[in-house]
Amino acid sequence: MYDRYIICEDGFRVRDDGRPGGRVEVRMPYYRGLALSMVEAVDLVLDGRPVPPERTTFTVHGNTYTFAELPAVTHDRWEMGERAELAFQTDEPLAPGEHEVTVSVRLRISYMPVPGGGRDSKRLVLAS
């Protein structure tokens, strides 16, 4: 469900804090919003290399969290269809042009015995 819509085709750009890395906009593959404590993972693979969650942050409607913080965040949500920003740090600045981006979302959905979520891969062009 909505797997192909996880990664937004626009909005892929470099970080705005001058550090090497970038930002990608992502949507939750689910039909309702969820408290962030139930967002177990938003894993990023960039050009075939996994980016450790410690090097990413997650922003919904202006609120930024680390993935270490998310499990305790029961009073903020990722809304249905909302574009969250997944920001990530890399060792080297991102090369201009196309990059292969893969995002896997894992959700803890109470009525399901197995994890929910989904996975999407797209080739994105870095916005200048």
Binding site: M1, Y5, R32, L34, H61, R77, E79, R108, S110, Y111
Partner: protein, 333 residues
């Protein structure tokens, strides 16, 4: 199809769940979804607050006013909300009984503010949480109806446990909300077609569909698919064949006094104006026979099976189902 010969008081509604694809992609706003509902001629509207209300569970006065303004503007009546119970809210512990009850009370409050007299309790609500929330629901004038969703049915231990609580407490606030996904007579072809697009072996797809359509034992279907050389895609389809069920619509009859609302689940309305998998003529006939006095509320769920290859047009799909329901209910011919 002849319209019902006996009078009835069954009305139509649309759940905004149906327009989720367009709302997700923001090609329709919430007001667009409300307007689309009204355009079908359905007098009732059902809302999934956790889907449609940013900031849930905080419902601003502004949202409540906007909502009620839309109801007036479009001539709609809110008939139900849908509640979830996030027992796994915390990664390290289960929500306590009291926290679960508090979650339900919160959702009852949301329904009251939206003007909806019915709250759907998702199938994972434990019976004792229903019982504990019932007095508050009564107090607020709201009914809490357990969704009877496939693969559950009226003889299933989980439902029996709920029925026991409903009969024992005798609370007028408790009841049932059948989802018509328990009346899937034919395997939805949007699902088997998707498996084919994903590379499933046609002979195994046929086998799975045929086993389902014969209402054979799907217990070990995955094993058979394995014996026949299937892999992950075919296993996935076999698993889906155990998610749908066919039971006779008349199994609702003994429970009619408890049934307050129907989620009219559908996967594909064909160009001929019928649902490919679900015999709505039989369902409506049973509801009329049982004297059902509530709403049949469209719940479109085909979008997830076609989104990979086809444009989703939820508005047209709902329009077709509503036209079918109007015909079956004798509103039109």
């Amino acid at each position: 199809m002849t319209p019902p010969a006996v009078p009835h008081t069954i009305r139509r509604a649309v759940s905004l769940y149906s327009y989720q694809h367009e709302y997700f992609l923001r090609t329709m706003t919430l007001e667009d979804c409300v307007a689309a509902t009204a355009a079908t001629g359905a007098p009732g509207i059902e809302i999934v607050p956790e889907q449609s209300i940013p900031g849930f569970p905080h419902l601003t006065g502004e949202f409540a006013d906007t909502w009620s303004g839309w109801m007036d503007k479009y001539g709609l009546t809110p008939v139900a909300t849908n509640a979830f119970l996030d027992t796994k809210l915390h990664p390290d512990r289960w929500l306590s009984h009291d926290e679960q009850v508090a979650s339900v009370r919160r959702d009852i409050d949301v329904a009251v503010r939206l003007g909806a007299p019915i709250v759907k309790a998702t199938i994972n609500f434990p019976p004792e949480v229903m019982a504990a929330a019932a007095p508050y629901a009564e107090e607020r004038g709201v009914r809490l109806l357990l969704e009877v969703h496939a693969p559950f049915h009226y003889g299933h231990p989980w439902i029996l446990e709920h029925l026991e609580v409903m009969h024992r407490t005798g609370s007028p606030a408790l009841g049932l909300m059948p989802d018509t996904g328990t009346f899937v007579r034919r395997f939805p072809r949007v699902v088997s077609d998707r498996a084919l697009r994903d590379g499933a072996r046609p002979d195994l797809v046929d086998y799975i569909v045929k086993t389902y359509d014969d209402h054979g034992d799907t217990h070990a279907l995955m094993d058979i698919v394995n014996y026949r050389g299937g892999g992950p895609v075919e296993f996935g389809l076999a698993r889906q064949a155990t998610h749908y069920i066919w039971t006779e619509p008349k199994t609702m009859l003994p429970h009619m006094p408890l049934i307050g609302h129907i989620q009219a689940k559908f996967y594909e309305m064909t160009e001929d104006g019928v649902e490919y998998s679900i015999p709505y003529d039989e369902i409506v006939a049973v509801l009329v026979e049982g004297g059902f006095d509530g709403h049949l509320s469209s719940e479109y769920e085909g979008q997830r099976h076609i989104e990979d290859a086809f444009p989703v047009d939820s508005v047209e799909q709902v329009r077709r189902q509503q036209a079918m329901l109007a015909r079956l209910l004798g509103e039109t011919r």
